[in-house]
Each structure stands twice: as C-alpha cells, then as structure tokens.
Amino acid sequence: MSKRHLAMAVAAVLAAASLTACGDGADSGSDGKTLTYWASNQGPSLEADKTILQPELDKFKQQTGIEVKVEVVPWSDLLNRLLAAATSGKGPDVVNIGNTWSASLQATGAFLQFDDATLGQVGGKDRFVPAALAAAGAEGKPPTAVPIYSLSYALYYNKKMFAEAGIASPPTTWAELAEAGKKLTKPNQWGLAVEGSNPSENAHHAFTFSQQYGGAWFDKSGKATFDTPQNVAAVKRYVNFMAGDKIVNPGNAEYAQNQAVSDFANGKAAMLLWQAAGSSLKAQNMPADAYGVAPVPFLENAPAGGKKVNSMVAGINMAVFNFTKNKDGALKFVKFMTSDEEQVQLNKTYGSLPSVKPAAADPAFAAPEQKVLAEVLNTSAAPLPQVAQESQFETLVGGIIKELFADAASGKPITDEAIKTKLSNAQQQVK
C-alpha cells in the first residue's frame, strides 16, 4: 500500500518533469545553411528592431541561401550573455557588440580576428571609416570586430530658447557654453541636461574632457593613470556645470534612464550633449526643426598637450565567435551587413552613421544632424582607451562622477583634493 503511494508520487514528479522537457532549447546550425545572430537594441524597441532587420535577413537568404535567426538582446543583458557564450563555447555565430567592449572581448580570444585576409573577405580594410575601425580592438593587433553603426557626440540646443535668450549661435567653447547656460537658466528651465547617475555617460564625458586637457586614463603600457592633474581638471570641469556654473538642474544628479533626453525634448533644458539623439527626440515628439545640432565645444584656452578631441568614437561593432561551425557563412553575413546598400538602409533607419566610406557619401546622411555627427567622427573623435580594463574605467570613474554630482546637488563643495582622492582610490582597484 505505502509502496504504491510512493510510486505514485514519483510518477507524478516524473510526469511533470517530462511535460516541460519537450519542444524547447536552442539549436545552432552546423549544416552551413543557418546562422544565429544576436543583434543589439538600436531602435525604439526590441520588437521594432526585429521588424527592421527581418526584411534584410530575408534578402540575405535570397542571395546566399543562408537563413539567419536573429535575436535582439537588450543592452542590459548583452554583455553577460556574450560572456557566458565566450566561457562555454556555446552561443550565436555572429554578434553585435558595443565598440567600447572591443578590447575586453578581444582579450578573451573567443572571437575571430579580422586580420588583413579576413578583412579582405568582407571587402577590405580600406572600405571602413578609419576612426570607426580604430575602435574595434587594441592598437597593433588585428581588429576583433568590424564597425557597422557609427555615432558621435554632438551639442543639441533648443532653437526657440536660444532666440528668446538672445543667443545668436551655439557655443564653441566651454566658457561660452557656461555663459549661454546662465542666460538660459530661469524658473522651470535649465541651461543643460546631464545624465548624472549613468556611469557610462559620465565616463564618456570624462574621456573627452581629459583629452582636451591633455590627459589620458591609461598610459601607453595600459596602466591606469586616473589621478593625474589633467584628469582631475577634466572631471571637475564636467561636474562644475552643476556645482559652479549652476546651469544644470540638481535633480539631474539622479538621472540614469535617459531622462536628460526627455527633459530636452520636453523643453525643461536648453542644451544636451548626446550621441545621435535625433531618433530619440523624434520618438518623444520633438520636431527636427525645433533643435539645432553643433559640435561639442572645446576648451577656450587649450593647455599644453591638449588634444582637439570633442567626442569618443561611439558605435556598434559586429564580431564572429571563434566556435562558429559556419565561418564562411558568418563572414558572408558580415560582408552583407557592411555592404553599401545595407549600411545606407540600416543607418538611415537608426539615425546613426555608416561605417563604410562609400555609404557615408549617400544623400540620406546629408541632414544637418548627420552632417555634424559625420564631421566630428571624421575629424575630431577619438576612440576610448582600447584596453582590456576599459569597463573598469567606465564603472569606477563613471561612478565617482555620479557621487560628485550627488554631492554637488546637495550643495557640497567639489574640491580638487576630493576628486584626486577618489580617483587615486579607484586607480588602486584597477587590475
């Protein structure tokens, strides 16, 4: 009697287990006819991305007979998923990566190297925009990926507010920006919006300012050099928009979900430093003629060694996992995605810039915003340090600036000494 009950219990458990075992699980193709592709979220939503990409993938299938299964992976999960794939040797064939991750991912050795021969298979090194290709891996090594979407920072300003404040042209130096910001700041309106609690955004600005002050976050050998006077000055200059110039709403210190863009779109702030904000602004109902786009300002008096850099090279790269069983197909797909036609089509849709030269000349990118972005990218953008510890830089330094904004917002003074101590502390944690 009791045995029967036990048997029943076990049977119930087994039945429930087997119920769930059917009909799922990932499969990757090894027959040369399928590829798995993890795309990054570029459009207004994951589903929108799928809708945008699917017709292109169908086109690729028509041309080559290779079926591409796409999964759009949210940014919040992408790096962890890549890491798990790199560790286990199981995952997609082709992936999108944030270009700032290139050197870190390159260090894993899990990705195909784009040496000259491999680059030749996807159209050759010379096709790519040099700045974009420079952000695809450590210097002196074959790139670990190729760029597909390129972006740069620009200064977005509200035309109506500028006219009301009697400002004729957008600021070209930080002093002018602070000046203009003070004129634009009044009840319920602020000069500039910043994303104070977003470590990545903060770190990107810290990089640009540091370049202008002639500093660097890593030396040639890849060692962290966080607490140099130039870097202290760079961090201070950025935080000072809130702490000293008072042209940033203290509330921005807690922004981490692109509220800065919303504030700009909703007329709560007159200026915004952002990468290719156009499509986001459109999604938030700000018409394109309501704002102007100008290059990010420079220092009024560049110190010795100061570089003419006003943006990081931002963008998305495409990489191929070493463990792919369909390397040929994967490279064909990379070639397809970096072809002139696809580059025009996709970058136009996403509001980004093509990463290959012939497509960049397409009239689709002649709108004022794209012209500014392209000019910055081609002349005055520099890649973030292409070192394996880049993510530590973003986390640590971006986090410090977040703390400093929090201090500034509550009225605490921001001293060089305090910044230097924090940066030294962070530097010791970098390995």
């Binding site: 045995k3 036990l6 458990v13 769930t20 799922d24 699980g25 990932a26 207004p44």
Partner: protein, 279 residues
C-alpha cells in the same frame, strides 16, 4: 471569545495604514498606466489629466509580452509543483524519522540557500552546456533548464518550512493511523498532507514566486524564446527611453493571473479549516 473595543479600533487603524502602504504604489501604477508617456515623464499627478488606454494596447507590440507571460507562468508553476512534491517527501523524512545523516542533510540543504547566486551562475551555466554537449539534453537557454534551476532555489526553504509545519502536527495522529494499520506513505497522504494544507499552500506560493521574480539567472540563461516576464519587462526600458506607462500597464496585466490565483487559494487560509483535523 469577543474582541474588545480597543482591539477593534487598533485593528481598524493598523489595517488601514497597511492597506495604504500597499495601495499607494499600486495606485501610482494604475494611474501612470492610464497616462500618455509625456505626462508620465512630467510632474506627478494623482489623477491622469489625459486619460488613455493606449499603453495597454502598445505594450503588446513593444515587447512580446504574451510569450514572456506564458513562459513565466509555465516555468514558475512547474517549478513550484515539482519543488513542493520533492520537498514534501524530504520534509516527511526529516520530521518523522530519526536516521543517520538527518542533521547533516538538513544543514547541507539549508546552507545551499546561502550560496550567493553570482558565485555559481557561471559554473551552473557551464554545467548545463556541458551536459547538453555530452548527454544531448537541452538545458541551455531552455525552459527546462530554468525550471530545474528555480526548483532548487526554492527547495531548501520549502523543505525547512514544511518540516516546521509538519512538526506542529501532533504525532498522536500518526500513531492513530498506525494503529489502524496504515503504512508511512499512507500516513503522509491521508493524515499529514490534509492537515498541513495551509502550510503546503504557503510553500507552493513561495516556490512559485521565487521563480516568478528571479532576474539574475534569467538574464543569462534565457533567450528570446524562453525569456520570462521578470527579465522581459526590462525590454520597456530601451536604448532611447523608458516606456514608463507601458511598464506599469504590463506589470499590472501580468500580475492579474497571479493575484487571481492568490484569491483562489484564500479558502485554504480560512481559520478553523484544519481545526477538525487537529482535534
């Protein structure tokens, strides 16, 4: 036994305050779900100035909410049922038997609950991939893998809580059943389980909710076909903006089946249901 006037008032005041504490965020959700995005981004207002149900329409196309919901319900309920079934067997052994290794088992199982997820996330992922490669199972990025993971998350405490509930059931009942000639399994099914229903229900809810809300493992161990609501909701926070109104609407809608389930389970918590069994 009667309630004094003081107690009655204390009860009313306390329960009202608690209800407010629970309700205010829920209300904020409802009212934000009924606003257009621009209003949600603006200064908070209690009453929507431009009420709209658009968020409830749009949320289905921003992320594949339906699929995520089905995955979550499936994974959570199967994990809960298996976990509780296994826990009942183990708890019965621990509560009603003295055997060598009893303490060791309890302590080991309990200690697994302390393992920080971050520590074994990557090893577990590797284990699944290796099992798939050698045994041909499909654990990687599948619902099966997720179910197995989640059911072990809730297992330790399910066992412990059930031991607690089983311990509080008088052993006279077992003895009476034994006198009637019932074997141990019959005692478990006929005597202990019916008496322990509220406890079992609580543990099932616990096991279900453990799986329902888990984010860290789901963000690495699922793909778009097996993704659960817990991580899927992050899809409303995109590259360009956060669809606050749609997150709120989606959160409300996905919670409806669970709250309905809670309501249905209410009757197991009615006081006195088990009183007869105890006497």
């Amino acid at each position: 036994m009667r309630e004094s006037a003081g107690e009655r008032w204390a009860r009313r005041v306390v329960l009202t305050v608690l209800a407010l504490f629970v309700l205010v965020p829920l209300y904020a959700m409802v009212s934000s779900a009924a606003k257009p995005l621009q209003d949600v981004q603006g200064v908070f207002t209690w009453i929507p100035t431009h009420p709209t149900a658009q968020a409830f329409v749009d949320m289905w196309s921003t992320v594949p909410l339906g699929r995520y919901l089905v995955n979550s319900l499936l994974v959570s309920s199967v994990a809960a049922v298996i976990s509780v079934a296994i826990a009942i067997l183990a708890a019965f052994a621990v509560s009603r038997y003295r055997f060598r290794g009893r303490q060791l088992f309890s302590v080991t199982v309990l200690s697994t609950q302390m393992f920080p997820g971050i520590l074994f996330l990557l090893p577990l992922f590797l284990l699944f991939v290796n099992l798939d490669n050698t045994l041909g199972t499909s654990l990687y990025a599948s619902r099966t893998g997720l179910i197995i993971t989640y059911l072990t998350f809730s297992l330790p405490f399910s066992i412990w809580m059930l031991v607690g509930y089983f311990d509080s059931i008088p052993r006279e009942l077992d003895e009476a059943a034994a006198v009637d000639g019932a074997g141990p399994m019959r005692t478990l099914f006929r005597v202990i389980l019916p008496t322990a229903v509220p406890g079992i229900v609580a543990v099932t809810v616990y096991a279900f909710m453990t799986a329902w809300g888990e984010v860290l493992f789901a963000s690495v161990m699922t793909d778009e076909n097996s993704r659960t609501i817990a991580v899927g909701l992050k899809g409303y926070s995109t590259q360009s903006q956060v669809y606050w109104n749609q997150v709120m609407a989606a959160s409300l809608v996905v919670s409806v089946p669970v709250v309905a389930g809670f309501l249905a389970l209410q009757r197991y918590f009615v006081a006195g249901l088990t009183a007869g069994a105890v006497k």
